[in-house]
Point group: C2
DNA sequence: TTTTTTAGATTAAACGATTAAGCAAAATAT
DNA sequence: ATATTTTGCTTAATCGTTTAATCTAAAAAA
């Protein structure tokens, strides 16, 4: 029992496929289909449990109602959460999502892009990785609709939905300072990605605005690929330095996890030995013996808005560029509680 | 500058599209295409950067090289990790994966199934949820290839790849008993899913084989949807009961997380007040002040094998049924360390 | 020399839908 | 009664491939 096609319905109804198509697409008015025959077609369609063939539709229309989501890694909770939001929001609008993980690797990202372009996704939502500017330019040139998510390139005019990382880091810095910490370090990825630079810049400005001199040794930049080992070295160094820090900001969830493991090994007490504020969010932060203060990014909003922007663009390609920076929220916990009883609760 | 099609190449080469198709699909030998013309076609194809249109191919062949992966929730680390493995393994074989989250909800799962069938995925990898037996039967009837992953229905003959949950729970129980715990509870989902029942059965048998009488109060079954509140009640009850437990097994990651949060609130010490073994795996288990003993499922193998089974089935639909149960590994940590110095290190 | 075979190409249908264009009959206008 | 419009439907091209069937000329065999 094969799937029923338009033709099958047409035959049973004794009409042409055109009529069937018109009726089933609700164009009976414009195309003046007789009411009687329309009824009949609808009935037969229901009887045969007709399901239109997406492939054929897509081939004809050039639209697949599919969007490609390129992220670093679906097994990372941040991206997994984003993916879930995107999936739901897309489904709500009749779109299907194909997710690809590029491991922060421009080459993989490029492969994914091509695979998905070949599969004729209607558009992309992309969490760009370092060195993928050419890909963004490529999409622009080829006029393939896309929205950058979470990260963007300020020197390239694109739609994007991201977090105000500068502000988030600034707030994190201020928070630590207000809590009485004066020697504050930050660990970030070695990267010239704008979002990462902003996370560092915000931190620096928080220091500056509070007359705290920034020391180069306080900034630790590690490579994504070799994070596991580099984080340890970095922590060793930052604690051994002349200007030993009493607090640290971790610019990503991955960094924080690695650091926490090492800090636990070292039997350092949080926050007395080292106060902590981290980006990202996950169960660990709640359940760590000293709950971790973190920068809560508006995941839901980021995901939803990116889908919204993309779909609008698909409906109307000529619509203006949409760019939005959303504010993160600092969730204060014990890992950054006031150093002395002097300040705050 | 539109994408080049077979026709474009054919025109430039001054031949028919058939020839181009033959050459580009490596059928030049069987179909006796002249060597000279074949060269020319390949050259032009390269020049025009020809990329075949997947939609057209699929429409013709009935194969989309796409597989549907239905899981409970991509934002759950267990499934996210599985998804990643599946994604990679599929890509290695030229397949694309479409992931759908059904939230342990048979109705959503059914929707997803239909959406994906309509999108003509070639086959499915499914983590079944409660009450989805009809869906499995449906797939069998319609002869749509699929492999059940992580969970299966023993009363339905299907391909599947799963963990030996009975053995895993049995091992967990034995481990606790050997560590000196005698009053061991278990928390699971209220469910008649086989994998969940097996997790409970293994635990019970571990008790039985060690002459420990099982008390009904030791088994706490909570509903997935209302887990947050029910877990608390369950813990309260199991601790207040006459046969207060000194150790607990959590049958899923989600249960463990909720329980740990509450246990922390209650200021219970792990393992002295309550020893713990949990299913699932994630950073939390490492970073909890008392690292959590957990049942490590062979994620990578599960994912890989499920893809392998499915692809084999796609190649050769008549191949026999493939079923495999993989062994989990208990990772012993401090949360279940020996109660007295009597046993073990 | 005639017939058969073979190499090398083309034609056209098919996959399942959409849709512009066309056509005949009925209804309306002149 | 004739011209025009409207109604209701069909035809056929199209999207980009694949592939069975066919064709043609040249080569091989009879």
């Amino acid at each position: 029992m094969k799937k029923a096609s338009l033709k099958d319905i047409a035959q049973q109804a004794g009409v042409s496929t055109a009529l069937v198509s018109y009726v089933l697409n609700g164009k009976e008015k414009e195309t003046r289909v007789g009411e009687a025959i329309a009824q009949k077609i609808r009935l037969i369609a229901k009887e045969l449990n007709y399901q239109p063939n997406h492939l054929a539709k897509s081939l004809r229309s050039g639209k697949t109602h599919t969007i490609g989501l390129i992220i670093a890694d679906i097994s990372n909770p941040f991206f997994a959460n984003i993916a879930r939001v995107v999936e739901d929001e897309a489904k709500k609008n009749g779109y299907t999502v194909i997710i690809g993980s590029c491991d922060e690797h421009a080459e993989k990202s490029w492969d994914l892009l091509n695979v998905l372009i070949n599969r004729q996704v209607d558009g992309f939502i992309i969490v760009s990785c370092e060195g993928s500017e050419n890909q963004v330019h490529y999409l622009k040139e080829r006029n393939i609709p896309f929205v950058l998510l979470d990260r963007h390139f300020p020197e390239i005019q694109t739609d994007f939905v991201a977090t105000n990382n500068y502000k988030a880091s600034y707030d994190a810095g201020i928070h630590l300072i207000k809590s009485g910490y004066k020697k504050i370090g930050i660990m970030a990825y070695k990267s010239n990605m704008y979002h990462m630079e902003e996370r560092v810049r915000g931190y620096k400005h928080a220091l500056r605005d509070n007359k705290i001199e920034f020391h180069d040794a306080w900034l630790k930049e590690v490579h994504f690929e070799t994070m596991d080992s580099e984080v340890r070295t970095a922590i060793d160094e930052i604690l051994a330095s002349e200007q030993r820090v009493d607090a640290m900001i971790f610019a990503t969830y991955g960094l924080a996890i690695n650091a926490l493991k090492y800090i636990t090994e070292l039997r350092l007490q949080v926050p007395s030995d080292l106060a902590i504020v981290s980006y990202g969010q996950a169960e660990v932060f709640d359940l760590y013996y000293c709950p971790i203060t973190y920068v809560q990014q508006p995941l839901e909003m980021l995901g939803k808005t990116s889908v919204e922007f993309l779909l609008k663009k698909l409906k109307n390609p000529d619509e203006g560029m949409k760019q939005i920076l959303m504010e993160a929220k600092l969730i204060a916990r014990d890992s950054s509680k006031p150093k002395t009883s002097a300040v705050n609760g």
